[in-house]
Symmetry: C2
Subunit: 197 residues, 2 copies
DNA sequence: CGCCGAGTTGAACTGAATCAAGAAACGTGG
DNA sequence: CCACGTTTCTTGATTCAGTTCAACTCGGCG
């Protein structure tokens, strides 16, 4: 990846000098994953903050009864990690797996800390990344309690158009907080409704 | 409020010079609210980021059917705002009201921008604020779908002990994503269970 | 080919909502 | 300080959204 690409694609929220962009590029480590590879395991330490160049991943938790709960689908140009583990050095509570073959760039906590100490521009960049993510998470919390499953499914399809072609529906159900069986019934219903119109 | 108080209480995540702390103190504007006062109205512009000195507030949305959905209870030493509106200048989607008499300190967007441009320490401070909030919101999203209402209620009581004395139960129900009637039944049930032990 | 995971479908069930009504607590004016 | 209306809380009966369990289909892959 070139310095210009870093500036335009990866760090688009801040203005960077070439020196800053280069310093960032220098500490990024490449990760290549195959479909179904585990990037972060529960109870391990999440050592990197990962930027997705290509591919899809998901970030989820499995409860005592063995049910998965998807926190996030990570797509190209998004960051992913078990944030709590990465930032505070605690054990990971989320598992991150590749849904397709993936190319990632990762930055270790030490390198990030150095970068933040040396170049304040990165403080701003991550402040903006986190602040935008926070606003989206707030929205999702309200939507989950305010809307019924069929509406949430429609919203999901608007937010991630075409993702059904890549992600198994059971994971979509888990993101929406419903069972795969019920999602199947919703889909049948909405197919029927759209045929009417 | 003194410079030392700012450094120790308000900006505890970063090391600040006296100059920086003073610059921050200088742009804080005081707000005094009485119980039930509206701090931010839906479809207005949220002009300030508010830090709570004393009192309790809540941040919620009302849906088409007239049901409230509580995003956050703000307590002493927390920040509150309609973040999307404050940061992006859009219309507020949340209403913020005082649950008790309150003393707040607010910083306007212009003043914050200046501060962030002048003193990078504040970029770090708000990066940390947002990043911690994000981790908590992630946890809440998963807990809402992974746990049943009675477990969520127990967790809520651990997180905000004694808040029931201040906040009407119907708002607690709304935070948990259930109806006040159902919360009432949960409470009766858990009272019964605790008498057994 | 055989198998396994994903998706669908149906029947029975349950957590939580809705509707309705009464009881307790609260705030406000006199 | 009491009387009153209003809001909050509780309780029960009924209904519904979504789950559970179980059976079956289908496509992909070794």
């Amino acid at each position: 990846m070139s310095i210009d690409e870093v500036k335009h694609r990866l760090l688009r929220y801040v203005c960077l000098s070439d020196e800053e962009a280069k310093a960032f590029l220098d500490v990024l480590e490449p990760f290549d994953l195959s479909k179904k590879d585990v990037l972060v395991e529960v109870n391990a330490h999440c050592q990197y903050f990962y930027w997705v160049q290509e591919g899809y991943l998901m970030n989820f938790q499995t409860d005592d009864k063995g049910f998965d709960h998807v926190l996030q689908f990570a797509i190209a140009n998004w960051w992913t990690a078990d944030l709590g583990s990465y930032l505070h050095g605690t054990l990971a509570t989320y598992r991150i797996v590749a849904l397709t073959d993936c190319k990632l760039l990762g930055i270790s906590k030490d390198n990030l800390d150095n970068l933040l100490d040396t170049y304040p521009a990165f403080e701003r960049y991550f402040r903006i990344i986190f602040q935008n993510a926070l606003v989206n998470h707030q929205k999702r919390i309200i939507q989950n309690v305010a809307f019924q499953a069929d509406v949430r499914y429609d919203e999901f399809n608007k937010q991630f158009p075409g993702i059904e072609l890549i992600v198994p529906l059971k994971h979509v159900a888990s993101y929406l907080g419903i069972t795969p069986q019920f999602l199947s019934k919703l889909r049948k219903r909405s197919l029927f409704n759209s045929n009417l119109s």
